[in-house]
Point group: C2
Chain length 116, copies 2
DNA sequence: CTTATCTACAACCATTTGGTTGTAGGTTAG
DNA sequence: CTAACCTACAACCAAATGGTTGTAGATAAG
């Protein structure tokens, strides 16, 4: 029972978000501790605006949300989006496994039919 | 024990490869049955060369290999690359879980220290 | 209050991406 | 053998991407 099925555009955005090392690092940091955008920005050799853009990509992919706290925006990881990506990869592997099993079955049946 | 640690560039390419619906569909098809590049191309409303490009992206991400069979190139999924992506997502989730546990511990300790 | 910090947003730029059409060589079927 | 099929590769193009600098408004610290 799948309550929310991500659209293709959602999945595009989701995997696109992971396809940049800075963004992967932002996710790791934000998973480990609470960070504001500027605290995150201090860790990267790029302009603040560049880091903002990365955070915006993550936000658009539903991987993070921003929570205003005074003059700061705290970046919070949304683990449900992580799980969505993982589920797709799980399914690929399941298809692969099913097919490997099917091939093994065919080979077994083939050998049974051989002695006749 | 991690025998082969993917580079950041590898991971960029890997997730980038998933970030397009046609490429995700190619992976699904190639996981389900054996396809040549032109058989794959027949399923998409785009030029053959466009599909070739998509296959090249998947190849560059180590998600598929091409095996020449006569005048055809058969597209084979490399499940190890799939697993690599999945492992990264698993690690994110582990970090998340560890942190959730740590927060629960702190709250429990905090309540213990309350009555004093 | 003033200054410092934090952020949103815009405009710019070089590179990359996801598509196109075209050319040409190799393999297969009839 | 010829025609059909399959592929590699190139050149092109519009849009997107990952960075830059600049401007301006809001919040916090002193």
């Amino acid at each position: 029972m799948v309550v929310d099925k991500p659209s293709e555009a959602d999945l595009d955005r989701l995997f696109q978000a992971f396809a940049d090392r800075t963004r992967r690092d932002i996710l790791t940091r934000a998973l480990n501790a609470e960070y504001s955008v500027s605290e995150l920005a201090a860790h990267y050799a790029m302009s603040f605006a560049a880091v903002q853009k990365h955070v915006a990509v993550l936000e658009r992919a539903s991987l993070v949300t921003k929570e205003k706290r005074g003059r700061e925006q705290i970046v919070r990881v949304q683990v449900e989006a992580l799980r969505r990506a993982r589920r797709l990869l799980d399914e690929y592997e399941k298809v692969w496994r099913d097919r490997a099993d099917r091939i093994a079955d065919i080979l077994t049946e083939g050998m049974k039919g051989q002695p006749k």
